[in-house]
Subunit: 192 residues, 2 copies
């Protein structure tokens, strides 16, 4: 019943799109895929898997291990596979280009699975993200203008760095938008 964090949902379903996997590997890949942005913990992953299972968005894949022990008993290693409903739900979640998709948390996952989206949806998300970041930049900018002189040099320096980071992020998104617009098609089909 728990409306799980949709970040985990999206991320898990997205990875399972590339083939069945068990929890441990899921987490590892998650931290490779999105590690520069945030961390993924077991404490959230396993409960989320349980929910997805209950909702029928994923299912257990039989012990299809290559020739390995068909021996009963010992269960360890639960391999999950995405279901048809799961794929549908994934597409639906990922395709949402609304405001929530330009917040920090969701934007990262969306971007990580951009290859599954049409160019126009990608553009809408990127543009939303950009305006979101511009807001933040303006906030920091005006904050800094207002408080300048009233703060010691360390605090000022920190805010200066913050502003620069915000500006840089906007620039980055802008480049991505530009590339996307000029029909920068991914070389071939991304096989992976």
């Amino acid at each position: 019943m728990g409306t799980r964090s949709s970040v985990y949902m999206l991320a898990i379903l997205g990875l399972l799109t590339d083939g069945p996997m068990h929890g441990y590997e899921l987490r590892k890949r998650l931290n490779v895929l999105l590690g520069t942005l945030r961390a993924f913990s077991y404490g959230s992953l396993y409960p989320c898997l349980r929910d997805l299972l209950a909702q029928g968005l994923i299912e257990e894949a039989g012990p299809a291990d290559a020739g390995a022990p068909a021996l009963s008993g010992k269960r360890a290693k639960i391999v999950y596979r995405i279901t048809a409903e799961g794929k549908e739900h994934f597409a639906q979640l990922l395709g949402n280009a609304g405001p929530s998709s330009w917040e920090d948390a969701e934007f990262g996952v969306h971007f990580a699975f951009f290859r599954h989206l049409d160019s126009d949806v990608r553009l809408r998300i990127l543009e939303g993200r950009r305006s979101r970041l511009e807001e933040r930049r303006e906030g920091v900018r005006s904050q800094l203008a207002r408080t300048r002189e009233r703060l010691d040099r360390y605090t000022q320096e920190m805010q200066r760095y913050g502003l620069e980071s915000a500006e840089r992020e906007v620039r980055w998104i802008s480049e991505l938008i530009h590339d996307e617009r000029s029909g920068n098609k991914p070389r071939h089909a991304p096989h992976n």
Copy 2:
């Protein structure tokens, strides 16, 4: 009893060092001071104030409002003042230049109150922070080297950006260290 997040502690005590204040304003200033790094919520602030009070690190300042209603009854606006123990504890927390002070969470607050520290302590914290960031950068770098070619261009782009951010952060700290070493004394005493 709750060993409150030490980030809130440090931040609250630090602000109260500049004069008595009530919760609402505390939060506002916190979000000005450290807003580029993180957000501060009432849900953590008020319980923390309660703890600090219980530990005797802060105390209620009487309604010393200028001539304002000495009228009894109505209580609203609770002004807090830092105690002698509080100042001591603050100095002790802030002066800790150990590993925890170079993690993301704590480094920010420490830096925000750098003006209260001696140059050598500042240097130790900055150097610790730098090595912490270098570790992270190397992690990202090797990750990227290992997975390059196996990831689609969006994921690659995200990791490239992540690496650049990590490199940039190291550069920033290095500059701060350089400034600190070359006896870049804050002009006069920071009066604020």
